[in-house]
């Protein structure tokens, strides 16, 4: 029956057609099931769950108590939380300032052509493939003050006279986190910029060369303007990703020394899973919602700034 109506849809009776469409849609809906069920259970419901419990005081064991906006008022007053927001922004700013220009420069070098291109590219991408948590563990070992490999190398090259306390000092620890982040992500940003550059029409760079433009001028006045739409997205993705950092920070510094490198999500994690006394689920949920708003606000602010700069 249905087979006929597929071909002769125009000729078959309307009722039959409706039945066929219903069966088709039923099949299509059924095919959505295997991904919609995990999505609803583990991506959609948890969002509502967090928003709901952010209005409660709850330790995860006894009955939750409705407290209205109390958790959010506490977020506003929580000095340590806003310090972790500032640290997150510093981490993001530091990463971007180093990572984006370096990635742009490398992408341009590859765009113009180099020797051993594919070998170099493999090496530059490699850190991005690896687990950030494991990277944190390995760097934590290499960064040790006494006997750490980095201190040995720097002392061996006579670049420093005394070992650097990479992770034990607040400023150093943040700089160490930034460096490892750049190390892990410069390759992927280079790739994305490169993928944007190769879509630039060749005539443009060629005519620039004919008119005697040097490499810097070609980059500044031809490649960079054409790359802007791609670059804007790449930077936005980087910003969002860095603001949501957890794995690397957790395993490299765990927010230390004494909370100086806590970022938003390592701070929140503690209220859920590593409480000093009892878990504060409602408060942690309110922090989570706030963090999400912070990420949204920073993204919007960034987009407004680049749009204004371009206008």
């Amino acid at each position: 029956m249905s087979r006929v109506s597929v071909v002769g849809a125009g000729r078959s009776a309307p009722a039959d057609q409706r039945g066929w469409r219903r069966r088709e849609n039923a099949a299509a809906f059924a095919m959505l099931g295997p991904s919609l069920l995990p999505y609803i259970a583990f991506a959609l419901v948890p969002v509502g769950w967090l928003v709901y419990y952010s209005f409660f005081r709850w330790n995860g064991f006894t009955d939750p108590t409705f407290v209205g906006l109390e958790n959010y008022q506490r977020v506003a007053r929580d000095g340590e939380w806003w310090e972790s927001v500032v640290t997150t922004l510093q981490f993001t700013g530091g990463r971007l300032v180093l990572e984006i220009p370096l990635a742009l420069a490398l992408a341009y070098v590859f765009f113009r052509g180099v020797r051993a291109e594919s070998l170099l590219r493999t090496i530059y991408f490699l850190p991005y493939v690896l687990s950030p948590a494991i990277i944190g563990i390995i760097f934590g070992f290499l960064f040790r003050e006494v006997g750490g490999q980095f201190n040995q190398i720097l002392e061996g090259l006579s670049l420093i006279s005394a070992p650097i306390n990479f992770l034990g000092d607040a400023t150093n620890a943040l700089l160490s986190l930034i460096s490892v982040g750049v190390w892990a992500h410069v390759g992927i940003n280079m790739l994305l910029f490169f993928a944007g550059m190769i879509t630039i029409p060749r005539e443009l760079t060629e005519s620039a060369a004919v008119e005697g433009a040097g490499e810097w001028q070609t980059f500044r006045h031809v490649v960079l303007p054409m790359l802007m739409p791609v670059a804007r997205v790449v930077v936005l993705i980087s910003i969002i990703g860095i603001l949501r950092s957890f794995d690397l920070v957790k395993t490299l510094t765990d927010g230390g020394p004494t909370g100086a490198t806590d970022v938003m999500f390592t701070y929140i994690y503690r209220f859920f899973f590593e409480p000093e006394t009892v878990p504060q689920i409602g408060y942690a949920a309110a922090l989570g919602v706030t963090a999400s708003v912070v990420v949204g606000l920073v993204s919007v602010a960034y987009l407004r700034v680049v749009r204004r700069a371009e206008a």
């Binding site: 419990y53 180099v114 490699l126």
Partner: protein, 304 residues
Amino acid sequence: MSAATDLRVAGREQAPAPRPPRRHSGRTWLRRVVLGVLLTGLAVVMLTPLVFGFFASVSPLRQIVGSDPGLLPDSWDWSNYSDAWTRANFARYFVNSVVVTLVVVVVDTLASSMTGYVLARKHLPGQRVLETVFMLTLFIGLTTAMLYPQYQIARSLGIANLLGISMVEYAGIMIIHVYLIKAFVQGLGTEIEDAARVDGCGFFGTYRRIALPLMTPILVTTIVLGFQASWNNYQVPLVFSLAEADLRTLIVGVSALQYDAVEGMSAYNTVLAGANMALIPIIVVFVVLQRFFVRGWTEGAVKG
């Protein structure tokens, strides 16, 4: 279509491209040398931490916790690896990692390809709402903050186990993969599928017999991305294994041991051996399948 292939082709073409003759060939030569030194130096910087991390993992414990350990192993000591495998329970963690990753990749390939196919070929009632909600959850991104409800929900569903870990991980990567597949299917012509429909193939049958094989290129990409995301995932198995250490994956096992090691550094050699065990599989897969990784990253970023 795929940035990876373009990327290679364009990279090749660029190199021998005719350049305008330069008068100062000496300066050009100097510039190439400087550039070569810088690029090589950067490659060294990228590899150094991994190489020394590996060297330390094959060094005797008393060497690496000493005050002047040197950079190279005093003696090559593979017992760190066998210790990690047998005594630190890493064999179990390794198997867990393999199981979780396998389930994620299989579910991802089947479920995401069906959903991507339906979204590309159908206009179901409520489809626009669904796609808007997909996008919203992607941008709301509560990530780490969602772990607690995710674990509680898994527990109430009776899957606070490896299956639950896989499902939570899948829920985290699914939206982007569905969109990659949807975009790919929209780029395919419908002629073969139409012909199959005329010959009496149902909607699901057309997907399974005709469309699924045609989707192979994009599915290789999502498989590679899913493998990377799941094998490297730290947060989900971390939270699921807090109450049950037997659920640890390799990466969580290494970090748990590192926490203990901070106290007396008694197990640093085992930690590093475990860390390298977690890195080596993905390094091998990456080196072999690099172009699929590259394609996945570029397409994921452009579409996401």
